[in-house]
Symmetry: C2
Subunit: 225 residues, 2 copies
């Protein structure tokens, strides 16, 4: 008979890992939203706040990593539980780097806010919204082991990539027509790249989720044979 | 008395993990070197070869990941062995993404090779060399648990970042003086960004190594108390 107390503790720990990953994701998402707000509303103090808040993300990443190691060492999980934990450890690395991209956006925002506005930002907020949604979806897919949702994220990435390409073409025309704008346009272009990179991280997470679930399926198949 | 046969098998598996990580690192390094060669020597067939070879990296990443999972499930390692394996699983994700950057460089090289040359590439090969060296160093640091070497990598990243900033400034002047060059200059700038990103991945690996070793130290300290 399995020790129900230990089983319950283990389940509680897995639940904790999932909850903490979602919490980290929530913080990272709000950092992206704030970074775009700091840019579009020319709010440099907000940008500075985002840069300072990055340590919260790093701290939570270490906390989750330590929790995962503790569970691996003390519970010796196998099969799908094992893969869930190692996937969580990889996902938080991606989330931490998304946090770094929010800092990058904030730094460029501070620089741009010192100069006259270039033009109204229309596509960047759309890109930010799309990449945030991708991030949220990829984490939901992780928590629920939802391959269908994860596959949807991979398709969404094309939307973000296309917006980035569109912004690139627009700014190229802008710079060609007025070389005075080059320095500012380049910074906007970098922000577009950072957002594209956030979409890439969400895609990475979605791929990790598919691999996590499919790996399980493959193992199950081997057992059935 | 511990079962020496099982202990030996386990040590053999840890050695295998390390060796495979180093092999993956070697392939990734040669992909970077070839990508820069494809650019500087305007060798588009080589660039296409690099793009096609990327699947080898992805395959080896999955292979190492599966090996790590197998060792975690069957050997139930603790303490520093556990951390070595989970660190390896994170490192290979970084290496796979460096491979993607080599593909990105190759794609831009193919595009640039279709147009007249912009100017001689001097700083990009230096950046590529530096980031390759960083990558190699970070993997040596991993295999030997060498915190001192890992810390050196963190400092080296400034060199790559500074080169990137310098290329950025130069190309900005270039574009301002002759807007005809903007489209090509932007592609060169992207390659510079990809190389900077490779330096970032090496830095990430070095940080993972420091965390791997220091985590062990912290645990040892807790045991001593």
């Amino acid at each position: 008979m399995p020790n129900t107390h230990i089983v319950k503790q283990f389940e509680e720990e897995l639940k904790q890992i999932k909850e903490k990953v979602i919490r980290l994701g929530g913080i990272v998402e709000s950092q992206i939203a704030d970074a775009i707000k700091a840019l579009t509303e020319r709010d440099s103090p907000l940008a500075e706040k985002i840069i300072q808040r990055d340590h919260v993300i790093n701290g939570l990443e270490v906390e989750i990593d330590e929790l995962c190691l503790k569970v691996l060492a003390t519970r010796q999980p196998a099969a799908s539980d094992l893969r869930l934990i190692t996937t969580a450890m990889k996902i938080i690395t991606d989330l931490e780097r998304v946090g770094d991209e929010a800092v990058n956006i904030s730094e460029r925002a501070v620089e741009l806010n010192r100069e006259p506005p270039l033009k109204a930002f229309i596509d960047l907020p759309r890109m930010a919204e799309a990449s945030q949604k991708m991030l949220k979806g990829s984490l939901d897919a992780f928590v629920n082991g939802d391959v269908k949702l994860a596959s949807k994220i991979l398709a969404d990435d094309d939307f973000v990539d296309n917006l980035n390409a569109q912004i690139f073409r627009e700014l190229l025309t802008f710079m060609s027509e007025d070389p005075q704008t080059i320095s500012r346009a380049m910074k906007v272009l970098f922000i577009s790249k950072y957002l594209e990179r956030i979409g890439d991280h969400a895609t990475n997470i979605a791929e990790l989720v598919i691999f996590m679930v499919k790996g399980k399926v493959i193992r199950h198949m081997a057992l059935d044979e």
